[in-house]
Symmetry: C2
Subunit: 183 residues, 2 copies
DNA sequence: CAAATCATGTAATGTGTTACATGATTCG
DNA sequence: CGAATCATGTAACACATTACATGATTTG
């Protein structure tokens, strides 16, 4: 369950509440979990039981109390260990590709409409990504300023990989559409 | 549950048993389900209840009986309709990227080892893909010979997208490694 | 005044993986 | 003779999403 380590990674920056984490997950496309409560709040309970985080309840008059979680030395040690494990090869889940396998069932016009709609969707998504990385660089998020030059470099490379992946898909689909046999 | 439509896509080629489908899913990286029994056999039961496939039990003396599923007109109509729906944007799930976000916790040597191990893994995976697409083109699988020029074109494009995606990742990681700040 | 945000969480359901179970046959 | 393949399926668990529930505050 690597969502726990993603959470520890954030907490290694700064203490955060479940609600803060929820927003961070929801904002970022790279952290592919949907940013739903259930997973995050349950993970925090478990991390607490495992002594990898501590919980401090900040009572605020008028507003609901915030439960702020702080990473422990144990948590940091576990995070470090996880960071050294070889991750699985990147997974690509493309619904479009699966549809294309059987798409010969469609009339030429239908297929072209499908591809056009998908290309639009892709372009919107790509724009969203660009906006997001612009916002990140402007430093709006809780964790945003790189602590070392190496960290700055790594973050830039992560963004590069992400955006170029979708640019490649855009280029691919444009080329596919122009060369499509009409029958 | 789009695994049902992936199954219908296969059955639109030729009738198949659960076991056949299991192997087809397990072989193909693009069909990202793991090819486990549970999902496939359950999906077939449901498809049968929904009158999208028919079931014929072929009793073979000595061997266990095969339950062969055939797509119905209803199933084909549903498949056609699904094919026209705009799929979601391709999802990329990269554990490496998440690790890199927090990787500044690692010593330079540790980080480089991690990247080297991952690059090896990627290269192996890429070779596996090439072999697989070679086998597919040689026509070893149950469904393999394109029925029309357009289908041939679509299949080639699907393979292209898949392999170039991983080639891009390989190029990216090589470049990342060579430019990594040592501190 | 309605909608969004803050902040917590639970319930129900859906999706996906691993392991278990059976029993015959074929291949090295 | 042990391992793999053929062929079916169940059970247990892990992971993920949507919807529900509450209640105060801020913003348009």
């Amino acid at each position: 369950m690597s969502i726990k380590y993603a959470i520890l990674g954030f907490l290694n920056w700064t203490p955060l509440s479940g609600y803060d984490l929820k927003k961070l997950f929801a904002e970022s496309a790279i952290l592919y979990w949907s940013g739903n409560n259930n997973q995050i709040y349950r993970a925090l309970v478990e991390l607490h039981q495992e002594n990898r985080v501590t919980q401090d309840v900040a009572y605020q008059s008028d507003k609901p109390p915030r439960k702020v979680y702080t990473i422990t030395d144990q948590g940091r040690a576990d995070l470090r260990q996880w960071l050294q494990a070889t991750p699985e090869v990147t997974q690509i889940r493309s619904g479009l590709l699966i549809q294309l396998l059987w798409a010969d069932l469609l009339a030429p016009a239908e297929l072209d409409e499908l591809l056009a709609r998908y290309e639009d969707e892709l372009r919107v998504y790509h724009l969203m990504l660009q906006e997001q990385s612009r916002r990140d660089q402007a430093g709006q998020t809780a964790v945003s300023t790189p602590r070392t030059p190496r960290e700055a470099y790594l973050w830039a490379q992560v963004t590069t990989f992400w955006t170029t992946s979708y640019e490649n898909e855009l280029a691919w689909i444009r080329q596919l559409r122009t060369n499509l046999p009409t029958a």
